[in-house]
């Protein structure tokens, strides 16, 4: 379980599960898993089954609370996860990302840190960096595009 709980939690967060609810959802996912008649075959199929339970439980909680469904297409979301983050609990993807982040410097790096490290919105970032909001938007869009090309290029290469 210790091997899978991190990826399951990460997958739930990727689908849009709030941080405050993620641990409960992980716990429920494993309890459901333990109730099922699943026969362990290999780690990959176990991980896939756990993700399907987690997705199911997350959707269920959204509907129970009358919240909007995830904006992602869930089939595409699962495919992207399988393609990019399934191996070795997603470590290669994160390693590639950290490597690529080293290549992002200056204001782009500052904007990324404020956005994803500090959790700031576009308005606050613009104030801190003395930029217009649209300027911040452009910087973030470009930085993400570069990062994505770099990460996916590294994984393919």
């Amino acid at each position: 379980m210790r091997e899978h709980q991190g990826p399951v939690r990460s997958f739930l967060r990727y689908l849009g599960c709030p941080r405050s609810e993620a641990d409960d959802q992980v716990q429920e996912t494993f309890l459901t898993f333990l109730d099922a008649t699943f026969v362990l075959r290999d780690e990959r199929s176990t991980a896939r089954y756990l993700r399907s339970i987690a997705r199911h439980r997350f959707l269920k909680s959204l509907r129970r609370l009358d919240r909007e469904p995830p904006s992602l297409d869930l089939e595409a979301a699962e495919d992207a996860w399988r393609d990019l983050r399934e191996d070795d609990s997603g470590r290669p993807y994160m390693d590639a990302l950290l490597k690529c982040l080293e290549g992002i410097r200056g204001r782009a790096r500052q904007a990324l840190d404020l956005r994803y490290g500090g959790g700031l919105g576009r308005t606050d970032i613009a104030t801190k960096m003395a930029l217009s909001e649209s300027g911040v938007h452009s910087i973030l869009v470009r930085a993400r595009r570069r990062l994505r090309e770099c990460v996916e290029g590294r994984l393919q290469g």
């Binding site: 990460s10 008649t37 992602l72 993400r144």
Partner: protein, 428 residues
């Protein structure tokens, strides 16, 4: 699956990883192993989820244990019949049982005894059940059990994975009506619980059900993605096709039932919205979209009539999607431009009241949904920008420009050009 779905998922994946890498989102996760073990070993842990995804077939040699809902139903007959459907049908007949003074239901006073169901007499014989002559104790074990069972079914309804279009759109509305209406009413009026139980028995004898109840049954079964529901609907179709709405027929056609495909085909061929005296049923959109998504030109006059008849209605927007699918993209874009212009005017008019904000948000949602439908996406909705907090405000054009931009991008597939255009508009 479309490229844009894959693109969006990979984009989200990157952003999620950025949160992990820069924000420590994953590092602060506690080790839940001991907690899960304690819950698993505890006797009072929650029962297994009856709707959990089935393990991969090759890995599940042993049959699953009966689910709580299946165990709860010891009555012979289809065990999948949802209690929420029973509740809804009970509500349909509530006035019959307890509201004879309701003029809307006075004409069904002669409904067959079976509508009350054999369980009604069982209820009288069972001291734990309550008769219609006295209000039951809402906190009695039986009532609590019925509530629990009904809620279980409501959750099962929640779990329905809506497949295909446009039945998905229709089913959402049906599901919402049943869940919210039926359960809310049951909570408010515990005395109708015996009728719920009676209705289950009525459901088990569909041939003896009155037409109004059977229509409700068909609508409820159309929500059920199970093979059993599919087969039952086919049987019901043979017995009483008039109990099927166009939505229900389309839902079955989308699941590949040939007789329903033929029915939609016949409906498309015979329905003339422009004919004198011909009315446009509210659910005509389902059938017309079904045809349009398959390139059937006969849907064209129906969709045009819907656009014309419901100018301020979301169905007109969806009908314009159907028109686009039939090659009339100008109609679709005109409609989107018109809606965006309306939104622009509302936002430019100044601060919005909370009611106006709700309306604007609803329109944006409708636009997003229509665009998703246009792109043929399933369960896809427009994803607002990260920074948008969900509240539209005058002077904060980002989100509706994105909506507008998305519509343009749908048409041009030129997201780079669109991005530049949007930025110019934002800077304006």
């Amino acid at each position: 699956m479309t490229d844009s779905n894959q693109d969006r998922s990979r984009q989200r994946l990157l952003e999620h990883a950025l949160y992990e890498a820069l924000g420590g989102d994953a590092q602060d996760a506690p080790d839940l192993a001991s907690k899960v073990r304690a819950a698993w070993e505890s006797e009072d842990r929650a029962p297994s989820d009856p709707d959990a995804p089935a393990p991969p077939a090759a890995q599940a040699p042993a049959p699953s244990a009966p689910t709580p809902s299946a165990q709860a139903s010891s009555t012979p007959g289809p065990r999948w019949i949802p209690w929420a459907a029973a509740a809804a049908i009970a509500l349909t007949g509530t006035s019959f049982w307890w509201g004879q003074d309701d003029p809307d239901t006075a004409d069904i006073a002669d409904a067959p005894e079976v509508a009350r169901g054999p369980a009604a007499s069982d209820a009288a014989a069972d001291p734990t059940l309550v008769s219609s002559d006295s209000d039951p104790d809402a906190s009695s074990p039986l009532t609590a059990e019925l509530i629990a069972r009904a809620e279980t079914v409501a959750q099962q309804l929640d779990e329905i994975s809506f497949e295909g279009m446009p039945a998905e759109f229709v089913r959402e509305m049906i599901e919402k009506t049943y869940r919210e209406g039926a359960l809310a009413e049951l909570r408010r009026t515990p005395r109708i619980w015996p009728s719920v139980q009676a209705s289950v028995d009525g459901l088990l004898e569909p041939k003896r059900m009155p037409l109004y109840a059977r229509r409700d049954l068909v609508q409820a079964l159309a929500l059920d993605p199970s093979e059993a529901a599919f087969k039952s609907l086919r049987s019901l179709w043979i017995e009483q096709p008039e109990a099927f709405s166009i939505e229900a027929v389309v839902a079955m056609a989308e699941r590949g039932a040939f007789e329903f495909e033929r029915e939609v085909d016949a409906w498309l061929g015979s329905f003339r919205p422009e004919a004198p005296g011909e009315s446009l049923p509210g659910d005509a959109l389902s059938g017309a979209l079904y045809g349009a998504l398959r390139g059937d030109e006969r849907a064209l006059p129906i969709l045009k009539a819907m656009v014309k008849a419901n100018l301020a209605d979301d169905r007109a927007l969806l009908a314009s999607v159907g028109l686009a699918r039939l090659g009339r993209r100008a109609d679709w874009l005109d409609r989107v431009e018109s809606d965006v212009a309306t939104l622009r005017a509302q936002l430019d008019a100044g601060p919005l009241s909370s009611r106006e904000q709700d309306e604007v948000a609803r329109r944006i949602d409708a636009l997003s949904y229509a665009m998703a439908l246009y792109e043929g996406m399933r369960m896809e909705r427009f994803e607002p920008t990260d920074e948008w907090d969900g509240v539209p405000r005058a002077g904060d054009p980002g989100h509706w420009l994105d909506v507008y931009g998305a519509a343009r991008a749908v048409e041009t597939r030129d997201r780079a050009a669109l991005s530049a255009e949007l930025e110019a508009l934002v800077d304006r």
